[in-house]
């Protein structure tokens, strides 16, 4: 008798829980693009993500997890729910798997144990997530520096990029992954107070693809691009700061090698400072013959660049950069090759806030500025695009990058 009473109490309590289990009408079902791997083959599936008003306990999961308790309705068809998955981190969600017709309008019906019905309007179901986006990903980095060995020379380095148009793909399989295709606007360069400084800008409109390759437990980033580029230099004779000197197409390949981060991470575990998971970045660009100054051709060239950074602590960040350019069909008397290197030693400005209290007034009080602003000392030598002036510079500066 006691056992029967206990079963009844459990049944009543369980029943009360289930009847309270309702789809959250303020967070309607969404069509979600997901990846599933079966027999080492990754494929894209489309699931319907449903959110309940409260967390799903073990008992509710048995009710919600029964495909018989769901209906997915198209305009003229009822789709079969084949499988129901549950979130590992969010107990209020579940996912319905089935062969949906993505062009149809879908309605989701949760019947529940007591056959209660909650209908979600078809137009509330979200559409596919891959679509073109406009004007995303704007970013500007900026440096200001004073050249120490010159009388009064100042230089400003900038790096601007924005995606004019982007199609987010996030698609792939077998370790190969393409994030997006995009049309980018980029501009980078140095504007200085004198043409003795390596003064010049490169601006381009580029069509880019961003592939990633996953191997050996590491992800290697990359970039393939095709662009049209304008280069400017300072023309002191004509008193022009931005004199367009080259107009060329450009084909670029970039690769990021993350394994080189291992020593950096080991340091970070000791110092507690993560400046950046900076991979070794290698890039190769080919520029065919283009339009130069005064109706002359701009020489075809191959630019190679390597960049690496080691963040020992906020007090010492070292960054090295090396460029090498090879020109083709060079006229007699003109250098066929140009090389450039720079070595920068930087401190995170966060250290000033910690060591000099009054700096908090300038650097934002209690705001966390780690990894945002730096002061640096940089040595550079040689010539690089676009100016190719073979100069040796030492400079002190501040920047959001260096």
């Amino acid at each position: 008798m006691k056992t029967i009473a206990l079963i009844l109490i459990v049944f009543i309590l369980s029943g009360a829980d289930v009847s309270a289990q309702e789809l959250d009408s303020s967070n309607p079902p969404k069509l979600i693009e997901s990846s599933e791997t079966i027999d080492e083959k990754t494929r894209v599936i489309y699931e319907i993500e449903c959110t309940f008003t409260t967390d799903l306990g073990d008992y509710q999961r048995t009710v919600v997890g029964n495909p018989e308790n769901w209906r997915v309705l198209g305009t003229r068809k009822v789709f079969t729910v084949r499988k129901i998955g549950f979130s590992i981190g969010d107990s209020s969600k579940c996912w319905l798997r089935g062969n949906w017709d993505l062009s149809d309008s879908l309605s989701v019906l949760f019947l529940g144990e007591k056959k209660e019905q909650l209908r979600v309007d078809a137009h509330e179901v979200a559409s596919r997530t891959t679509k073109w986006g406009f004007g995303k990903g704007k970013a500007v980095d900026f440096n200001a520096r004073r050249l120490t060995e010159q009388e009064a020379l100042y230089a400003f380095d900038f790096d601007f990029k924005s995606k004019i148009l982007e199609r987010n793909l996030s698609a792939g399989g077998g370790g190969f992954w393409v994030r997006s295709l995009s049309l980018d606007l980029t501009s980078t360069g140095t504007v200085a107070s004198d043409d003795e400084v390596r003064n010049g800008t490169q601006s381009s409109v580029a069509f880019s693809a961003n592939p990633y390759y996953f191997v050996g437990g590491l992800i290697y980033g990359g970039k393939l691009s095709f662009s049209y580029q304008l280069e400017t230099q300072m023309n002191a004779e004509e008193d022009k700061l931005f004199d367009v000197t080259h107009k060329q197409f450009k084909f670029g390949v970039e690769a990021e090698v993350p394994y080189s981060n291992y020593p950096v991470y080991k340091l970070h575990t000791v110092t507690g400072y993560v400046r950046l998971a900076m991979p070794l970045t290698l890039s190769l660009e080919y520029l065919p013959v283009g339009e130069g100054e005064g109706g002359n051709d701009a020489l075809a060239r191959l630019d190679f660049r390597a960049l690496y950074e080691l963040a020992f602590s906020p007090y010492l960040i070292v960054r090295g950069e090396w460029h090498h350019t090879r020109f083709f069909d060079v006229p007699a008397g003109v250098d066929k090759e140009a090389s450039y290197y720079s070595l920068a030693f930087a401190q995170d400005l966060d250290v000033l806030k910690k060591t000099l209290g009054f700096c908090k007034l300038i650097l934002g009080g209690e705001e966390d500025i780690r990894g945002k602003h730096f002061m640096f000392y940089m040595i550079s030598s040689g010539g690089k695009a676009p100016a190719f002036q073979d100069v040796y510079e030492q400079s002190l500066g501040f920047g959001t990058y260096f």
Binding site: I32, E33, S34, S35, E36, T37, E40, T42, V44, I45, E47, E49, G85, F86, S87, I88, G89, D90, K93, C94, W95, T129, G137, A139, S170, G172, G175, W177, R179, S180, N210, Y212, F214, G217, L218, I219, G221, P258, Y259, N261, Y262, Y265, H268, T269, G272, V274, R275, L276, A277, M278, P279, D368, R370, G371, K372, T400, Y401
Partner: protein, 89 residues
């Protein structure tokens, strides 16, 4: 779940080749994602999460949703607000 997260983070270069999640995790979750990583780190994370979590030994389904990273995002929030939301059994 924690172990899978450590593998995802390690694959992007932080703690590359490191295989000691218990050591990494408590230190890592307090760290704010550095600003220079904001641009392409979300894509790398999603690619890594898909490769790691959708395959053995986890075999989870992974929602194609990149994390939103801003100046307040920590590695803790990447774990609890992003990875935990996009994977399911």
């Amino acid at each position: 779940m924690k172990e899978a997260y450590c593998k995802v983070i390690a694959s992007t270069g932080i703690g590359a080749a490191e295989d000691n999640c218990d050591e990494i995790f408590p230190k890592l979750i307090k760290v704010v994602v550095p600003q220079p990583m904001h641009d392409d780190y979300p894509a790398k994370l999603l690619a890594s999460a898909t490769e790691i979590c959708a395959n053995e030994p986890y075999s989870w389904v992974v929602k194609k949703e990149e994390p939103t990273i801003d100046e307040n995002t920590t590695f803790q929030s990447l774990w609890s607000d992003w990875l935990a939301r996009i994977v399911h059994s």
